[in-house]
């Protein structure tokens, strides 16, 4: 097989990833300007990314009686201070605006008799989120001058002198290689799963919480192009229902189920209530022989059973199937819980692109929004939408400047064609490689095993020390060498090869970050056994940048709430 066709496209704005943030960015750009937009999506925007199965609630909302500042305080506390308050505040201020817009587009939100949204706890509101993604996708399809290219997997940015000029990719549907030239680019490819050995390593290996198709492409492309990244060491480990890895918030918040150990003791108060402490507590209870751990649902009412079964169908249907298949409702059996493999996901923790307050990365004209953007944890759906909006508005407002910068670095037609020819050669080389020693699957397993064993996976109780991290680094480098010899029989396999390489790049940066923060600020998320204590000296960001193939660590001072942060180029 070979690349079948070549296409060069020009647009004002390229959005990579037509997920939550990407779709919303397109809506905002067209509402506020006439700029042309191309959305490059590796799957199909109708059901791609985190929202594919639906979501259960709006997890980030400023409920009546609260202020955006309260949300900032909450997120800051949960992350033990390593957040960007400028990003959190600008996000929090937009949460209710984007929710209103979603409702207008057709999302069903629960209201009380006075027409007010019904709160779930202090920050959530209740919805029927099963069709949230089709709703967003339909709205995008209505837009003029927005070209959605589904099944286009983006592999690299085009960058010259630190100015973004577009991106390359290939269609897994028809084998066309694309060069998309754009005056500005929004990266909205989500976070990275599949770095570590998963909870269910066998047949159900992809029954994971985070989409297995969000492979960290956006991080990897940015890293290779020299963009600065932040706080990768704050990994996200979710506490989930055993086997189905379905979210637990609906049970915990919906019916007020407590975390209990095998002896029936409530243990959550013993370890603290931040996201990482809840995971850590569960690990500890297991290690000390009081596992497995559960959410205590026994004794809930039949009505609550029924509503839970329905709520899960709207978000994680496998859990409902599991209850029915077992012939036991949650009222009859507590729900067993476990921690997931670690993910890198900036929508929950603070890892991702280092951006200015407008969500521009350190590469001029390249913006990042949603799970791929760093510094701003606890974003969830609505936060991802707001970041898409902020990036879009920034582009609309600085379009003249962006166009000028683009023109200054613009390539000639021959140069453009030459670049695409070289990219096609790279793709074709993988497609033509004969009799490779290893398959993608083998190397993926090798990578996940290394990360599990030496970089704090499930198998090592999320803990590591410096010696282990050095081993992880050495072994990941070796696997990266081996990956150079991989081959692909068709376009889908070509995508598998790129996905593996993306994950390897993310792993390398993750290891470097884990090693750079010499303290343990968050149990489980980054638990360095050589430095088991937390220290005020580490009230700073650990950032990184790839230079000549080497990862350089950069430490930066915390950015305060009122500040407007700009990059000093």
């Amino acid at each position: 097989m070979k690349i079948q066709n070549k296409k060069i496209i020009h647009t004002d704005v390229l959005i990579i990833g037509g997920g939550t943030a990407g779709c919303y960015a397109a809506l905002t750009i067209r509402e506020q300007s006439n700029l042309s937009v191309v959305i490059a999506e590796k799957a199909n925007i109708k059901r791609s990314g985190c929202l594919a199965a639906g979501v259960n609630a709006i997890n980030a909302y400023i409920v009546k009686g609260r202020k955006p500042e309260d949300y900032v305080d909450y997120a800051k506390k949960d992350a033990d201070d390593i957040v960007r308050e400028d990003l959190l505040l600008t996000m929090s201020e937009g949460l209710n605006r984007v929710t209103a817009k979603l409702e207008q587009l057709g999302l069903v939100i629960l209201k009380d008799e006075n027409g007010e949204y019904v709160a779930r706890g202090n920050r959530n509101i209740k919805i029927n989120g099963e069709n949230i993604k089709p709703i967003l996708a339909d709205a995008v399809k209505e837009l003029e001058d927005v070209t959605v290219i589904n099944h286009l997997n983006i592999t690299d940015y085009i960058v010259k002198d630190n100015q973004i000029l577009g991106a390359f990719g290939f269609s897994i549907e028809d084998g066309t290689a694309y060069e998309i030239r754009a005056k500005s680019v929004i990266c909205a490819t989500g976070g990275a799963s599949g770095l570590y050995k998963p909870n269910n390593p066998g047949f159900s290996r992809h029954k994971m919480w985070y989409p297995p198709f969000n492979t960290g492409a956006g991080y990897a492309m940015g890293i290779r192009a020299g963009a600065e990244m932040t706080t990768f060491e704050m990994r996200f480990i979710a506490l989930r229902c055993k086997d189905t890895i379905a979210p637990t918030g609906t049970i915990a918040q919906g019916v007020g189920a407590k975390q209990v150990n095998a002896l029936g003791e409530v243990y959550e108060n013993k370890y603290g209530l931040t996201t990482s402490q809840r995971v850590y507590g569960t690990v500890k209870e297991n290690l000390e022989g009081r596992g497995p751990c559960y959410l205590r649902t026994e004794g809930i009412t039949p009505k609550q059973d029924e509503e839970l079964l329905k709520a899960y169908l709207n978000m994680a249907p496998s859990q409902t199937l599991k209850w029915i298949e077992a012939g036991k409702n949650p009222s009859q059996q507590n729900v067993e819980i476990e921690g997931t493999e670690p993910y890198v996901v900036g929508g929950h923790t603070a890892s991702g692109y280092w951006v200015d307050t407008n969500r521009q990365s350190t590469i001029q004209g390249l913006y990042a929004a949603g799970d791929v953007a760093g510094g701003c944890p606890q974003k969830y759906v609505t936060g991802a939408l707001v970041e898409g909006e902020i990036a879009a508005e920034a582009i609309v407002h600085s379009n003249n400047q962006l166009t000028k910068q683009y023109e200054e670095h613009k390539l000639t037609e021959q140069e453009e064609e030459q670049l695409l020819t070289e990219k096609v050669q790279e793709y074709d080389k993988i497609l033509n490689e004969k009799q490779p020693m290893f398959t993608v699957e083998q190397l993926e397993e090798a990578m996940q095993k290394v990360m599990d064993t030496y970089a704090g996976g499930i198998g090592s109780h999320y803990q590591f020390n410096e010696k282990q991290l050095s081993l992880a680094e050495e072994k990941i480098n070796q696997i990266e060498q081996l990956a150079e010899g991989l081959s692909a029989e068709d376009m889908h396999e070509l995508m598998f090869v790129y996905e593996l390489k993306e994950r390897l790049t993310v792993c390398k940066v993750l290891i470097a970050h884990l090693r750079a923060r010499k303290e343990t600020r968050w149990h489980s998320f980054a638990e360095n056994l050589d430095y088991p204590e937390k220290s005020d000296e580490w009230l700073k960001y650990v950032n990184s940048r790839m230079e000549d193939g080497k990862i350089q660590i950069i430490y930066r001072d915390l950015v305060e709430r009122g500040e407007q942060y700009e990059h000093s180029h």
Partner: protein, 104 residues
């Protein structure tokens, strides 16, 4: 975690192939759908909801406690019907109204 596609019911409309977030479903020589990468399935059931011909069933892998029950989805207007058939043949349907919110 995976799905099975009933080759007799599939009419080859390609909707499931278009919608899968991992593009895991492909057409065979007869133009009918099959899951090419069953181990890569996320279990999001997008394909099950998309199929208007009742051809796709979703099940839990044995490694995560699956015991042979199957689930599919049909819909009429705003109503969604989640139909579960247990391995013993017992059937159960859960109805969900799209216009109503979750209670939790």
């Amino acid at each position: 975690m995976s799905i099975v596609i009933n080759q007799k019911k599939c009419v080859g409309c390609r909707k499931c192939m278009q919608v899968c977030p991992g593009t895991l479903i492909k057409a065979n020589e007869n133009g009918k759908a099959y899951i090419k990468y069953p181990k890569d399935c996320w279990g999001c059931v997008s394909c099950v909801k998309e199929c208007q011909f009742d051809a796709i069933d979703f099940y839990l892998g044995a490694d995560i406690g699956g015991m042979g029950s199957k689930m599919n989805v049909t819909s009429k207007g705003d109503m969604i019907y989640w139909n579960i058939t247990k391995s013993c043949g017992e059937k159960q349907t859960i109805e969900i109204d799209r216009t109503k919110s979750n209670q939790y």
